[in-house]
Symmetry: C2
Subunit: 336 residues, 2 copies
């Protein structure tokens, strides 16, 4: 049982914040005082944690006195303003936003991969992007055995990545389409009901959007391979809360599908779902609510020479391992 | 105006058959006699073509006397049995199933790509797989300018690829999920409402499913490059009738995004939708009901050396260019 004196959850009423509260109940964590913090608009709400109703308080500059750890999941703007304030108050911040991920003095950590990076933290630890975490969970165990020389990934990303309001938009917009009512996107920038679209983050000079850039840059940082060749295409699909990814890998040495399956079957946080006879492979509906990332369609890439290529298909709960669980695991590492 | 004496549409009450009827109205085709054929179960239904109600007749061994051309869209079993019968009766068959696609005496044709292959037909011409057609429409124009050395594709395939009943299942199952009712897959083998899954065709020894194998083998045949390295991951998504594909290409020589955009902007049957500032790229909802395949996210692949890689995202109407339109275009080539 890991003991924590005082913990704050910033953005407690959001999709990830709520999941963090749920996980605090399930994990081996004993929290002395739990502060749930959110914007003035959400303050006053009550959230039940471990059978105690806790009132959400407004996040202010004074919220972090005496707080040992804070998990931030309230967007980059809130993190940029309040994480330094929390740090100055002696609180260690686990930040779920992209605000500090690429800062050289901020560890970017997936506990199954690079827990040692926590050693160099200066008060802020960054939780990686959800698509990055889910991809890395299955690529890292292979990379340890046989260095990855290139990653090409295409994603099938759930609405939850854009927050609770986007998940609600998927549901309500789908109902409206089925009823024949006119629909107009409000939270997401394009229609999500029975539609999909390129991830609606800004596009850089090189044509890659910010989500793709995160997958590339963050993977390099987590793997400690600053020049690892990676390409990504990020797509939003009409799925509530589990991301899927089609991952094509090139390795330094030959690797067979059965080698890969064996490595992945013992990888922590990974479950192999790869039944060709039953045609049963990872699906968002089965990854939802699971701690593990599901991996299947493990096969040697017939287009790559020398047996050095692999194809994989992975599904992971975007809110769980893609965000809240990874943050709570970091907390467990720090406080354990 | 292309004149045809007698045309039969086999599988006239299916999703593709109905679309063929619609296209006969829109295209420059003058058909003397149109026979609509289907199973005994569907015979007797009436379909309006060019303001005339035509009664669907039962497909029998005698259906092809005097028929000049037949478009088959009733599945592989029907094609295997009746296409040879039609051919023996002097009818030229355009077959939408996979039954004859890889036969050496059967041309596999996308009219924008290899219309010359029609010359060697022996009475049967195969219409390629829908995902193959949509991919080839954008890869071929680039390949002509700069030989493609490898294709790696991940698909986002609509329910329509599994027929009309699958499209209906998507709608009704989604409504049931929203209503909180229990759901059970009937047409598709896994839940399609708010879910996605690996294309549910049998998996071969090499781990690739039949849909992926079609994309690989058919592209090689259409391009006349029998050993072209191709890998594919085919996934069914909860979208009604337009397929999307994330395509990663390797070329013999360097190619810039602007080179590719210029080539694709003049390619027949292709429309470039690639507005990075408005974040507007191909979407199934905008490809639905369109003859053209939409292509965007055109960018140089940062993971490939020497500027020889490209990333593309394409959407095409599965029933239209993925099936019915391509078949009607073949008919126009043959009869023109």
């Amino acid at each position: 049982m890991v003991k924590i004196g005082q913990l704050a959850v910033v953005g407690a009423t959001g999709a990830v914040g709520k999941e963090v509260c749920t996980l605090l109940e399930r994990r081996s964590l004993s929290v002395g005082t739990l502060s749930l913090l959110a914007s003035a608009r959400s303050a006053g709400q009550s959230i039940k944690v471990n059978d105690r109703n806790i009132t959400v308080q407004e996040l202010t500059e004074k919220s972090f006195h005496g707080v040992d750890y804070a998990i931030f999941s309230a967007g980059g703007g809130v993190s940029k303003k309040f994480a330094p304030i929390a740090k100055a108050a002696g609180c260690v911040v686990i930040d779920n936003s992209s605000a500090f991920r690429m800062d050289s003095d901020v560890p970017l950590v997936v506990p199954e991969i690079n827990p040692g990076d926590l050693d160099y933290h200066q008060g802020i630890i960054a939780n990686p992007n959800c698509s990055t975490i889910i991809m890395n969970m299955v690529v890292w165990p292979l990379h340890r055995e046989n260095p990855v020389r290139r990653i090409a990934v295409s994603t099938y990303q759930a609405a939850s990545g854009a927050g609770q309001a986007a998940m609600q938009e998927l549901t309500s917009q789908t109902a409206d389409v089925l009823a024949g009512w006119p629909v107009e996107p409000k939270v997401l920038s394009h229609l999500i009901a029975f539609n999909l679209f390129s991830h609606d983050t800004p596009i850089g000079q090189d044509g890659y959007n910010q989500e793709e850039r995160k997958m590339i840059d963050e993977t390099r940082k987590i793997f400690h391979v600053p020049d690892l060749p990676i390409t990504a295409t990020c797509v939003r699909v009409p799925i509530p809360r589990a991301h899927s990814e089609s991952i094509n890998l090139s390795f330094e040495n030959p690797i067979s599908a059965s080698d890969a399956r064996e490595i992945l079957s013992t990888a922590p946080g990974v479950r192999v779902v790869d039944d060709a006879i039953a045609n049963h492979f990872p699906m968002p509906i089965e990854a939802t609510g699971q701690d593990d990332c599901l991996v299947g369609r493990i096969r040697q890439d017939v287009s790559q020479p020398g047996g050095c290529g692999l194809e994989l298909f992975v599904c992971g709960d975007q809110i769980r391992k893609g965000a809240a669980l990874n943050a709570v695991q970091i907390l467990e590492c720090l406080a354990g």
